[in-house]
């Protein structure tokens, strides 16, 4: 190669210096960015620490005041109260954080109750039954659903769904109860009417042709709801709930938060769970089907045991999202710091508290630091949950590769 030595040594050394410089720059920049991003946790921890450290300018607060019921003036029994602004009629601000933690977990739990069945059902259906063409469209559609801004969902939940449910509580309940048997009825009819119908309405497109059927179910519920309400609940489900079960109904309540946040969280659970299910090596599925298993048996006995950890990590990531979601809870929950198990009552989550109260809290004060403690809890919780989920998924990927290798 006659040309290799024709580059003058000076130019080469300039190029090499430039290369080294650029590499150093990239390294410094990359590390800087990563450190800056990771600094969030450190900042929160440093700001929160003085709470538990006696120092001159901030009053120390002991852990018990945060997590245990406290005797407050004006209350008979010790209680949990979050009243960070001075309560009316004087007295000290009340910093029991348990109601906020409770509200956060309650909202997340109800949203998972709504989202997990929907997401896992959708993942199972699209991994095993759905026609590939529909599946290729469904994923981006649900990705769009994931991108729906929280403030829009919160607005619809708080100002449209909540008043609607306020007036049509029985209809909502009947609809919820009627939905599963209604879908099963469609399935039963479909299996009975064989032949031509199966070609016209194949199982792979069930997700689409079931939608008009949902309208039928809706119509049925509209017809049935007033009758049921009149027969069993003495004309009004709300009064019945209040009198017989002692459940007060707040306009904006945990169930509404659950529905709205379930809607928001469902697509991310779906995407990860579907990845896990469809990542199961094909030879396992084919083997099971060759042995005569139906697709559902394949799913239940073969795919799910293999993909179980991945599905679990999907649910965990969904839980992480639900715990930290702010706008939906803020707009759909009524923001009352209560500690009741009644799903029809309001709640106040940590994230919503931060959004409302932090701009008004004096920097460096106890209230400010407590809100930062809430942020630290959110950060630590989501970070741990997500790390765990990520580790599980990495293991799963290795397992799939091993399975493929074995087969």
């Amino acid at each position: 190669m006659p040309h290799s030595s024709s580059t003058p040594p000076l130019r080469r050394s300039v190029r090499q210096t430039r290369d080294r410089l650029a590499t150093a720059l990239i390294t410094a920049g990359g590390i800087g960015v990563i450190v800056a991003v990771m600094a969030i946790g450190i900042f929160l921890a440093v700001e929160v620490l003085p709470l538990f450290w006696s120092s001159a300018d901030t009053p120390r607060i002991d852990l018990q005041a945060l997590w245990l019921p406290q005797p407050y003036t004006g209350l008979e029994a010790p209680a949990h109260r979050w009243q960070p602004a001075l309560p009316e009629g004087g007295g000290e601000p009340r910093f029991g954080m348990l109601p906020l933690v409770w509200g956060t977990l309650e909202a997340a739990a109800w949203s998972l109750v709504i989202a997990v069945p929907l997401a896992l059902g959708a993942a199972a259906h699209s991994a095993l039954f759905m026609s590939p063409r529909l599946r290729a469209r469904l994923r981006p559609t649900l990705e769009l659903m994931e991108a729906m801004p929280g403030v829009v969902i919160g607005f619809v939940a708080g100002l449209v769904l909540a008043p609607w449910l306020d007036n049509h509580l029985a209809l909502g309940a009947v609809l919820l109860i009627l939905l599963p048997p209604g879908v099963l009825l469609a399935g039963g009819l479909w299996s009975r009417l064989g032949g031509r119908l199966h070609r016209r309405l194949p199982m792979g497109w069930a997700a689409v042709w079931l939608m008009p059927w949902l309208l039928v179910i809706w119509g049925l519920a509209v017809w049935l709801a007033p009758l049921l309400e009149a027969w069993w609940f003495g004309g009004s489900l709300r009064t019945w709930l209040e009198v017989h079960l002692g459940l007060a109904y707040a306009n904006r309540n945990a169930i509404i938060v659950g529905m709205a946040m379930g809607f928001a969280v469902m697509p991310s659970i779906y995407a990860l769970a579907e990845d896990a299910l469809s990542g199961v090596p094909g030879n396992l599925v084919e083997g099971a089907e060759a042995l005569g298993a139906t697709r559902w048996q394949t799913l239940w006995k073969v795919v799910l045991p293999a993909a179980g950890p991945g599905v679990l990590s999907a649910v965990m990531i969904g839980a992480g999202r639900a715990v930290g979601e702010t706008m939906i809870v803020l707009m759909a929950s009524g923001n009352t710091a209560l500690m009741t198990a009644n799903p029809l009552d309001g709640l106040r989550s940590m994230a919503a508290s931060i959004a409302i109260e932090l701009p008004e809290a004096a920097p460096g004060g106890t209230h400010y630091r407590l809100l930062l403690l809430a942020a630290l809890l959110l950060f630590a919780f989501t970070f741990c949950v997500n790390t765990l989920a990520e580790v599980v998924r990495a293991r799963l990927r290795r397992r799939y590769r091993r399975m493929e290798g074995l087969a």
Partner: protein, 516 residues
Amino acid sequence: MHHWQRSKRKSAGEGPWAWLAAGSVATSLALLALLLGLLAVRGLGHFWPADVALVTLDDGRQLAGRAVKEAPLPGREARERLYRDGNRDVDGDIWEWVALERIQDIAHPEDLVVLERRRWGEFIGRLVAIETASGERFSGDAAWPALKERLAVVEDGRRQIAQLREETIQPLVRRVEAGQASAEDRAALASAQSQVNARQAALPDDTLVLESVGGRSLRQPLTDVVRALQPNAMGPVDKLATWGQGVWRFLSEGPRAANTAGGVWPAIFGTVLMVVLMSIFVMPFGVLAAVYLNEVAHQGRLIRWVRIGVRNLAGVPSIVYGVFGLGVFVYGIGGHLDDWFFASRLPSPTFGTGGLLWASLTLALLTLPVVIVATEEGLARIPESQREGALALGATRTEMLWRVVLPMAMPAMLTGVILAVARAAGEVAPLMLVGVAKMAPQVPLDGEFPFLHLDRKFMHLGYHIFDAAFRSGDVQAAMPLIYATALLLVVVILVLNLTAIFLRHYLRGRHGTLPH
């Protein structure tokens, strides 16, 4: 026995669970369609000049308005209907509940006019006459054409005044306030102000004589009227034109009446500006970090953990980023900047309060993991042979990265930035802590040095929704506008996401699947 089992399985198909799974897909899609349909119908329907009903009740009383909703009357088998009948200054409020059984007649007479006004909201009623300052009086059939004609004159004058205010007076006033004005500036300001006064005086000082259908009369100065319509007399083409005009006004005007009326232009502008600034911050740093992680760093255990950590930061709640932005950017850095450079303005803070800069930096931090992850995915897709080929031809690592790897990873970077923009545009919670404003009269970009005012607060579409929905007095009146704003936000985000999906598709097509 055997035969029976097989036939049973055949008739049962896949069993109940498979159908429940299919039903959950259908339910999710139906919910999404319902949400989008609701936003589209309500958001776009708001601008349609619907007919105004003249309702006659059984006691002879009349009201004119548009039906909003119906609800069952408590305790009885009857329903009532809510009419939006405007006329806050005449009736005290703009709503009227009417029991359906009391309605005797509903008509749509063509002479009903709907006036949009700057104060007091809508007027719905009849136009009796229009009186000019010079004593002319148009009444009867001549009144409506005269109103149209004179309203056009008023609008023209108003536009000129607004232009003068914005382009000449406001910059001068700010210079005077800052104490930097020269004598010429003061003279220019005085002359501009007198020009405005002259223009204002030249506006036709007409008075509309109006009458509500209930028989109360009202004298309305024409200068307060924004728009006049006779919806019942309009044909479909006219209505469509008015609808288009309404949409345009919504997009191009500022809000009125505590964000419950008017348009969202400042919010659109604020959102876009904030997002553009954020992209400027996030793009280079995100790419830098991704290149470091994927190309430069030693691929050991530590980098694996760092990568997992960065991925997880995408899952950290946005409000936590907001807290960080408030604590570090606003109170920390901003407070110090104020102490050092803007001490003369203290105690009123310059950078020590939420503003455009801190908001876009916070969102840049929030979306950094998105960009890093997307870029890294793109980098990982590039076959190793490309890099080895470049190195074998004598390129240094920097040259290889700059000439070969980064151009190939371009679509991935773009995808990352678009996803980041889509996420940032919908994010509201952190902005509530670091600089969004309910009402920011001045957009943060103008003709005055330094042109881009990073310290100013700004308006945001998402926060506008929250504010109008929860902090305005009359939610019912604000609802149509909230729907329209929500629709706008969703459309923007959907378009951005579709672009990202398309780009990613293109990327997969070009480089094949990820090599394991």
